[in-house]
Symmetry: C2
Subunit: 227 residues, 2 copies
C-alpha cells in the first residue's frame, strides 16, 4: 500500500479505459493511490493538468513515480509486471492460457472501437457527414463483433472467465460488456455476454471502481436495444 | 529452432501487423517457422484456411502448437514471454524503461489507425460517403500524431530506440514509420522519424522480413507527401 502513495490517476467517469486501470489497481492491492475525477463534459480532459501527463488530452492519465502510463492496456501490463506477487496474478503462466489471455485482451480493443463507433457516432461524426448507410454498416459490424464474443464465451467452461482464471483479458473486456448492457444491449439475444456480465459485476475490484454515475442514475440508455 | 517447427504464420505482404510478428520471430531466433504468403488483392485473407484460425478473416493468423495468436501485439507479447532467454530481450526489466516501452507500444496502435484512415480512405469509405472535410480532418489528426512521435524521438538519446534498447515498442512502431515513408512522408518535415527509420531499416530482423514487393518495386507512393 505504501507503493500506492507514489501513484496518481486522473480519470473520467464513464470511460472503459479508466475503469480498466482502476480494476487492476484494486486487484493488485494498490488501493490508496491518489486520484482525481475529471469531467469530460466540461472538457477537463484537455486541461493543462492532463496535457502535462498525457499530450493526447485523454484519460486515464496515470503516474507511478516518474513513470507515465496513459494507454490502459500499457498501464495494466506494467502494473501486473511490477507487482507480480501482490494481489491477484493477472497473466497466467500456462502457455495455452497465456496465449488466449493476450489474444482476447487485444481483441477487446476491437470491441471498444466498434461500440464507440455506434454509441458515440454523434460525437465522432459532424452532422453534415453523417450517413444512415455508415451507421447501418457500423451497427452490423458491432453485431458481428458481439456474436464473436458470444461464440468465445460459449466455448469456455461454466463459471469460467475469458482465459481460465480471472486475468487481464477480463480487466480489458469487462468494462466494454458493462457499457454494452448499460447502453441497452439485449440480454436475451446475447445470453453468454449477459452471463459473463453477471459473473463479474459484483467482483470486489469491479464494484469498488464502478462508474459513480451508475449509482446516481441506475437507468441506462437504449441506443443498442435493437442490435 | 526446433520450437519454430511447431509455428505457422499466414501473412500478407504490406501489412504492418504481419511484419511485427515476423520481426519478433527473427529477434527471438525462431527462424524456420512455416509460413505462407496470402494475397489481400485476391481476398485470400477471407479464405477458409484463414477463417479456421482467425474468425475475423484478418492477417496475421499465427499458431504455436494449438495456441492461436492473431492480434500482432498479443503475438509479440506471447513470443517474448515464452522465449524470454532466447535471442534479443524485448521487454526491459528496468521499471522506467518498461513503463515507456509499454506506453509507446500501445500508442503505436494510434499511429496505425491514423495512417490507415488516410492511406486506405478509399477502401474504408464507400464513394457516396466520402467528404473532403473528413479527409482533411483525418490528415490533420495524422499530422498531429506524427508530430507527437517527432517530439518523443526528440527526447531520446542519440542512436537510441523508443524506450532505451531495441524493444517491443520498436517492433510495433517501426513498420508504421516504414509505411509512412513508403507512402511519401517528407523526411525533411519529419527529421526525427526519418532518422529513426534509418537507424532501424537495415537491422537484420527487419531486413529479413521486409515486404517482398518493396524489392520488386522500390518506388513508393505519394499519398502522404504534402503532410
Amino acid at each position: 500500500v505504501s507503493m500506492a502513495k507514489s501513484m496518481s490517476l486522473l480519470w473520467g467517469a464513464g470511460s472503459p479505459p479508466c475503469w480498466r486501470v482502476m480494476i487492476t489497481l484494486e486487484e493488485k492491492k494498490l488501493q490508496g493511490y491518489r486520484h482525481k475525477l475529471l469531467s469530460f463534459e466540461k472538457g477537463e480532459h484537455k486541461s493543462q493538468e492532463v496535457l502535462e501527463i498525457n499530450p493526447r488530452g485523454q484519460l486515464p492519465a496515470f503516474k507511478h513515480g516518474d513513470n507515465i502510463l496513459n494507454e490502459s492496456v500499457a498501464a495494466c501490463l506494467y502494473l501486473e509486471n511490477q507487482f507480480k506477487s501482490q494481489g491477484v496474478k493477472l497473466i497466467p503462466d500456462n502457455p495455452a492460457e497465456q496465449a488466449l489471455m493476450y489474444q482476447r485482451m487485444m481483441e477487446g480493443l476491437s470491441l471498444t472501437d466498434k461500440l464507440n463507433s455506434v454509441i458515440y457516432r454523434d460525437l465522432l461524426v459532424p452532422e453534415e457527414e453523417r450517413h444512415e448507410s455508415a451507421l447501418k454498416r457500423n451497427k452490423e459490424a458491432l453485431v458481428t463483433e458481439l456474436k464473436l464474443w458470444e461464440g468465445y464465451l460459449h466455448k469456455v467452461a461454466a463459471g469460467s472467465y475469458l482465459a481460465g482464471a480471472f486475468s487481464l483479458a477480463d480487466v480489458i473486456v469487462f468494462p466494454n460488456t458493462a457499457y454494452a448492457f448499460r447502453f441497452g444491449l439485449s440480454a436475451g439475444r446475447y445470453p453468454k455476454l449477459a452471463k459473463y456480465y453477471s459473473l463479474l459485476k459484483d467482483r470486489p475490484s469491479i464494484k469498488a471502481s464502478r462508474p459513480p454515475q451508475w449509482l446516481a442514475s441506475p437507468q441506462g440508455y437504449e441506443i443498442l436495444k435493437d442490435l
